[in-house]
């Protein structure tokens, strides 16, 4: 397998003819209030055997660009103008824009010459058809294979994407697969007809980092074998640095900058690109706010002490004998992949779940220590004021029928702390504290952006002046530039209010930026706890090594996830 950094095609001055050349593509979405120019004059070329990464934040038009190529833009979107010259294997060219979205010709290209992989491998495959059915369909449609031949070929394809026991897997349904396996099946489907161009729309965003690394490896290997061109759409600059030959940066439907991956990362000429790179490279180190602060004294008594905490769901032990402590003013990160039990653990601390065994010793401001596991009645009610939670989904965790003032004021009201004019004043103050205009108090959540909504969630969490906040993936749903604002807000509030955070995340970068110490969870167990810098740079546990080495580094000169550690649990 060749090093991606030394792709022979790239060093060659004369490139082959482009597989696809897009010129001035414009795609509009007519809406009630006017026209949304989702793609506004985009031009680029894709070469055989090369990877073009289209990068941008949500709403940048990168996905619509990809869908425009196949003429599968969702209604009411439509391509207004531009050219998309596709070069077939025999050298003939066709303008995809002229083919329209219904005809036989564009259908012959879809899935055959140009294939696509989507973000959510669960919902992008039919839940009621077998994996095999959905692959065989493509083979029969484009290659006209007989049923038995198509089935044999589908098994070969599943083997090629390294799905174990392909002859059995072919008759399975999507929900019987893990996320990574589903995405492999999706890739097998897209490669069925050996396409000239593969479009991958955020194919690894829904996956864990180690699974992401495997899928990226797989796409790279298959690309080398088949010589396809790849358009890879992502918001993750680490992934871009890892796999791209060329990069196209989009913002609000326009191309801000495009060029070779080294140029984009090391000599960006556009301000937006620079901001984007900067927001990622900043996650490579500790926040300035924390680097300047003296470390939390080690002898300060912990505000939260978790001892041998376990949580069973019937036969499954989701949290297994976890112990750690958090001191006031300190942030403890909890990192782990999906299914590691980190969310369950967080929910046990705020008693959304009742742990099966163990202790959660919470030290009240007056020095009294209570066990949150056994707390009930008034003690539990008090504890709910002082140990609070921030949720992941800034859309789902705010009641759409309540105004911002009602949402933020609700904990104060239900706990009988403030009402009337005093409540108004405290809500205004809280809004100022999290950087929201108090004048917006009568608005409903839908009027706010994702970042602003998460600020509302933060304001609600700190309204009761808590001592401990459990933040579960609090910034995962946000774009990179917004993520910083929320992280910095959390740090500012920590200093102002002396808060202790338990910050649950799958994102090593965010953990490194924010946390003083970090614990690593794997299959319900806390396998390692230590100072963030030490865990991230010199991990002790083999699983932590595997996890850290699977994170793509946002620097094209440091590609290395295919050289990562792989962790196999010792049974």
């Amino acid at each position: 397998m060749s090093e991606t950094g030394q792709n022979p095609n790239k060093s060659a001055k004369t490139r082959a003819e482009p597989v696809l050349e897009v010129r001035d593509l414009v795609t509009h979405f007519p809406v009630r209030t006017g026209v949304v120019k989702a793609v506004d004059g985009v031009s680029f070329k894709v070469y055989p055997g090369q990877t073009l990464c289209i990068v941008g934040e949500s709403g940048s038009g990168k996905s619509v660009t990809a869908r425009s190529i196949l003429q599968i833009v969702d209604a009411p979107g439509r391509i207004v103008s531009g050219q998309m010259i596709f070069r077939r294997a025999d050298g003939s060219t066709v303008d995809l824009v002229k083919l329209g979205d219904r005809g036989r010709e564009i259908r012959r290209i879809r899935g055959n010459d140009i294939a696509m992989i989507f973000q959510e491998p669960m919902s992008s495959l039919s839940p009621v058809h077998t994996i095999g059915d959905q692959i065989i369909e493509v083979l029969r449609l484009h290659l006209g294979l007989s049923k038995t031949a198509a089935r044999a070929r589908a098994i070969e394809l599943l083997a090629e994407v390294e799905i174990p026991t392909p002859e059995k897997a072919i008759d399975r349904y999507t929900f019987e697969f893990s996320g990574g396996m589903r995405q492999r099946a999706m890739i097998a489907m897209s490669l069925a007809c050996d396409p000239r161009l593969l479009i991958a729309d955020e194919p690894t965003t829904a996956l864990d980092v180690t699974t992401q690394a495997e899928v990226l490896d797989l796409i790279k290997r298959l690309q080398d074998r088949h010589g396809s061109a790849v358009i890879f759409i992502t918001h993750d600059m680490g992934v871009v640095a890892e796999i791209a030959d060329d990069v196209l940066v989009m913002y609000r439907g326009r191309v801000m900058e495009q060029g070779n991956v080294d140029t984009i990362f090391h000599h960006p000429s556009d301000d937006y690109t620079r901001g984007l790179i900067d927001s990622v490279t900043r996650l490579q180190r500790r926040s300035d706010l924390r680097a300047a602060r003296a470390p939390v004294p080690a002898d300060r008594p912990p505000v939260l002490e978790v001892k041998n905490l376990s949580m069973d769901f019937e036969a499954l032990r989701a949290v297994n004998d976890v112990s750690f402590e958090v001191r006031p003013g300190e942030t403890l990160g909890i990192v782990g992949e999906s299914g590691s039990g980190k969310t369950t653990m967080g929910r046990c601390i705020v008693r959304l779940l009742d742990p099966t065994s163990g202790e959660i010793r919470y030290r009240k401001p007056d020095g009294e220590v209570i066990d949150l596991v056994t707390a009930h009645g008034p003690a539990l009610k008090d504890m709910r004021r002082e140990v609070r939670m921030i949720f992941q989904d800034p859309f789902g965790s705010l009641n759409p029928r309540m105004t911002v003032a009602q949402i933020i004021g609700e904990p104060l009201l239900v706990n009988g702390i403030a009402r009337g004019r005093e409540l108004d004043e405290r809500v205004s103050h809280l809004m100022e504290q999290v950087g929201l205009e108090p004048a917006w108090r009568e608005r409903y959540p839908h009027a706010f952006s994702g970042g602003q909504r998460q600020r509302i969630g933060v304001a609600r969490a700190v309204a009761l002046q808590p001592k401990v906040i459990v933040a579960d993936e609090a910034t995962s749903a946000l774009d990179a530039s917004l993520r910083f604002q929320v992280l910095d807000l959390l740090l500012k509030l920590q200093d102002e209010l002396g808060l202790a955070y338990v910050f649950i995340s799958h994102d090593i970068g965010v953990i490194r930026y924010l946390c003083d110490r970090v614990g690593v969870m794997y299959r319900g167990k806390l396998v390692e706890v230590g100072e963030t810098e030490q865990v991230v740079t010199a991990p002790n546990h083999a699983y932590t090594k595997a996890l850290i080495s699977a994170v793509p580094w946002p620097d094209p000169n440091r590609r290395g996830i295919h050289k990562r550690h792989r962790y196999v649990e010792q049974v």
Binding site: I72, R108, G111, A115, F118, P127, V128
Partner: protein, 328 residues
């Protein structure tokens, strides 16, 4: 799966006992009994029955006995002899009365079902795919009319049209000459000739609501990512529509089988009465009015059994149709 079916069938037994007892009690709850009703009916036509004669009747029907004993005798008869008792009003075994009507009821219901689905599903699909077009608005308006028109009104209007314009005999399911004739092809043709009016009437209201349900189900599915995936594979719009979203949007209809079966007996009472159809529903209504308790009890028991079987069948079919559903 077999284990699940076995368990469900086992559970049906106590459920049936409970319901049969409840039904028996409920039928007896209104003041009076069949004899009081009978006396009152005769009194309406100036025939007076004295108290002794009434008591003799009660004695003969066993109505004077305690309720529990009556229930016990009834259930024992069903379990041991398959005997559902004798209808007071018709002076015939209940079993014969019910079965006589079930065949025709079944014919009518199944024809209605086929007609409803054959009309409603394609229109529902059309209306979802062409959302907010003229076609969708037209179909939607028509289906709202269908929902809003009471079925007895439609029955009267159609009867009028059939009689006045086509000069057809519209009452019942057979012409007089075939009423008691043995089954021949001519009788079948006569049946079909009579069947279309009730089928249209019953289908109209069913179709209207089904179009709305199908449209809503399909609209939920049309924007799912797997539809985009199918499109990106190069399938034609029609093929991908039928194979993926329509297939999944149809699943909820399987659950409707659960209340389709009991509807065999108790559904469409109004239409059946208006059109004087020899189906089960008018007989059920009459037996309840007359407090003809063994006949009514048999019907309630039948409805209940059909409900239980219907929900079991729909559960099994759902598990077959949707691999995500596991019955364990």
């Amino acid at each position: 799966m077999l284990r699940f079916i076995f368990k469900r069938v086992l559970w049906m037994i106590p459920a049936l006992f409970a319901v049969s007892f409840l039904a028996f009690v409920l039928i007896q709850l209104p003041p009076g009994d069949f004899v009081t009703n009978y006396v009152a009916t005769l009194a309406a036509s100036n025939e007076i029955i004295d108290q002794n004669a009434a008591d003799a009747l009660r004695e003969r029907f066993g109505l004077g006995e305690p309720m529990l004993l009556q229930y016990g005798k009834w259930i024992w008869g069903i379990l041991v002899h398959g005997d559902f008792g004798t209808s007071f009003e018709w002076q015939q075994p209940v079993g014969d009365l019910v079965w006589e009507r079930m065949a025709l009821t079944l014919t009518l219901t199944l024809s209605t079902l086929v007609a409803t689905w054959a009309i409603a599903l394609p229109i529902g699909i059309f209306s979802a795919v062409r959302k907010y077009t003229i076609g969708d608005y037209i179909v939607t308006s028509i289906s709202f009319f269908g929902l809003a028109i009471p079925s007895f009104l439609l029955a009267l209007v159609l009867m009028y049209i059939a009689v006045v314009i086509f000069g057809q005999d519209v009452s019942g399911l057979f012409s007089d000459e075939y009423q008691n004739a043995p089954w021949t092809w001519a009788k079948v043709a006569d049946l079909i000739h009579h069947l279309w009016i009730p089928v249209i009437i019953l289908a109209v209201s069913g179709t209207a609501s089904l179009i709305r349900v199908m449209r809503a189900n399909l609209l939920d599915e049309l924007n799912k990512p797997y539809v985009t995936t199918a499109r990106a594979k190069g399938l034609s719009e029609f093929r991908l529509l039928m194979k993926y979203p329509v297939r999944i949007a149809l699943n909820p209809f399987i659950s409707t089988i659960a209340w389709l079966l009991p509807n065999l007996v108790s559904g469409s009472i109004v239409v059946a009465v208006v059109l004087n159809l020899p189906t089960a529903a008018p007989l059920l209504l009459q037996s309840l009015l007359a407090q003809d308790m063994y006949l009514a009890g048999a019907f309630v028991l039948l409805i209940c059994t059909l409900t239980l079987i219907g929900s079991l069948v729909s559960d099994i079919l759902l598990a077959i149709a949707d691999p995500r559903i596991r019955l364990e």
